[in-house]
Symmetry: C2
Subunit: 393 residues, 2 copies
Amino acid sequence: MTSTTGAAEERLARAALTRIFEPGDESGGAWLRQYGPREVLARLTTPDEGTGARRGWLGEVGERRLAGYRARAATARPERDLAAVAALGGRFVCPGDQEWPSQLDDLGAAAPIGLWVRGGPDLRLWALRSVAVVGARACTPYGAHMAAGLGAGLAERGWVVVSGGAFGVDAAAHRGALAAGGATVAVLACGVDVVYPRGHAELIARIAEQGLVIGELPPGDHPTRSRFILRNRVIAALTRGTVVVEAQYRSGSLVTARSAQRLGRHTMGVPGPATSGLSAGVHELLRGEGVLVTDAAEVAELVGDIGDLAPPRTGPVLPRDLLDPVGARVLEALPGGGTADVRQLATAAGTTPDEALGKLYELHSLGFVERRGDTWRPAFLAAEPVATRRGGA
Amino acid sequence: MTSTTGAAEERLARAALTRIFEPGDESGGAWLRQYGPREVLARLTTPDEGTGARRGWLGEVGERRLAGYRARAATARPERDLAAVAALGGRFVCPGDQEWPSQLDDLGAAAPIGLWVRGGPDLRLWALRSVAVVGARACTPYGAHMAAGLGAGLAERGWVVVSGGAFGVDAAAHRGALAAGGATVAVLACGVDVVYPRGHAELIARIAEQGLVIGELPPGDHPTRSRFILRNRVIAALTRGTVVVEAQYRSGSLVTARSAQRLGRHTMGVPGPATSGLSAGVHELLRGEGVLVTDAAEVAELVGDIGDLAPPRTGPVLPRDLLDPVGARVLEALPGGGTADVRQLATAAGTTPDEALGKLYELHSLGFVERRGDTWRPAFLAAEPVATRRGGA
């Protein structure tokens, strides 16, 4: 089948291009949109015959940058990268895939070429009901307390907690969600097989098991200052809103918040003492467009408004018979009128608690189930929908 | 002169009515607007001849309340009250007076009948450039620190700091202004000769000396719960904006802030830890219309916008030759191109430092002078104005 082969080649080309273009490279992004990944990769790997005229549109970026692209293109081995991530139980997700979170396309030419993903759950479904909680690495005990509380409280309300896997606020938010038996996604500024910071080896492994670890950079790539900054736009675009817990003036978390604002996502901040430099950036945000929030209920109230990213709460976006087999079994295991916890559902559906939890969050995004504390129950469905959304299924 | 006698009689009637109607009594306020203070007082002091029909419009409020009005009217002794306040160096200011802060009329039927005033400065001129700083009595050290900083910082920028003379945030704001050699006004919920709370005897005496102590209630009257609450509307209406420093849910400070909002004044709040119950009310305010502020510069920036209450900053509202003699001498004492401190100006103008300071704040409201730290200098005047505002002079 030509189209399947075409799709596979395109995926391979995108995987290669994640090693060639830095995250957010808008020249690369524009070429990709205009010529497609296979053509861009082919041009970059075809030897230049020495005249500027022959370079054609590649010449737009100037001699030096082009030489850099070509050098990296010459060493790109996408099959090896795909195998390396597959060995970790991961995959490469790109535009055109069912799992691609299409809200990332809001980033235009700066949209990710694709995402390297570790973890079982469906990224698109999780991202539909996700909130980012970000903030200072060197946060205060107050900041850590608030981040952990938000992480747990959002998880308890069925929201997926997205953060950057860093020390401080990020870690507290991830841990809060994990501790509440909830869903969390770490968006890294390095390969998903690279442990950064080193001290977070266990945390990131746990997120990969219970949630998702994702990033734009291919296996083995390390973070740089600009990669950290550009990573923030992915967090902002992926989620329905960003909460900044503690941030100094001009911090990376404010970059995330401003991206979120520009993308039309909700931007929120947790206040702190006016005397604390670590709250100064948050207060600056709150003096602008940001909304002050003090707990998970207030965050959920804001992002829970019916928006274009999440399915309306009244019904699912996928017909029940298009669910994947495990998802269908978990849903079937739910008692019609009552509630059940993850362990009960995992046993009944013949799977692990981690997989069952992942499926429950997917089912939640789809509007089939609701979470109440530690238990899950069927959502009230007015009617079974007939159409799918975003070309899904 | 009949009109002077009329004005004096009207003032006497208003003074008597402050003892008869509780602050904010809208029935009394409506009568006052319709029939004038002399007529209302005359009706209340004329014995009722026993038939409901004869009571006419007084009957609107019902038997019991009317009996209360009559009982209080029978014992009102306005000449004695005026003498008592005069003995403290005070006065009674009411609508029609040059010193009446006409923005209080924004309160409609709930506007004060008049204000009992202790202290030298001109209330109307001070109120033109004033900001309220209010908050919890049982504030935290953080709240006291912020209130004192705002009081001092606003005073240093030439703003008059208005508060309620209570423990906690109010006291810290007054003291901050006083410590910076600035202008402050205490709006009491009792007679201006009553010391409440007792522990503030010295503070209130100092405010009466260096600033203004004002209130709606006649000499000797004590505060009640409802008087505290109704006092807040005067603080809100008098000032260009209200800053709430620490406040629990449903606290009196929030009442002030909401009044300010309804009156179109700026409403501001100082954030605090989301974990602090004493910041919960402020955060609630900031999730609504309130603007988050963290220091005096941010407050001044907001309330400093040209508005209908304050004269534009580019020039005075009164021609120089209509200034009172002491004000004129203080202005004259200012070196043309340079700056001077209060002590120097007092000496040069032949008055006390306290009076000189009061005049400087009046001159500031009128646009003649600017404050820079501890010194004063002439404001840059593009042109001498020819017209007065608000029918002044």
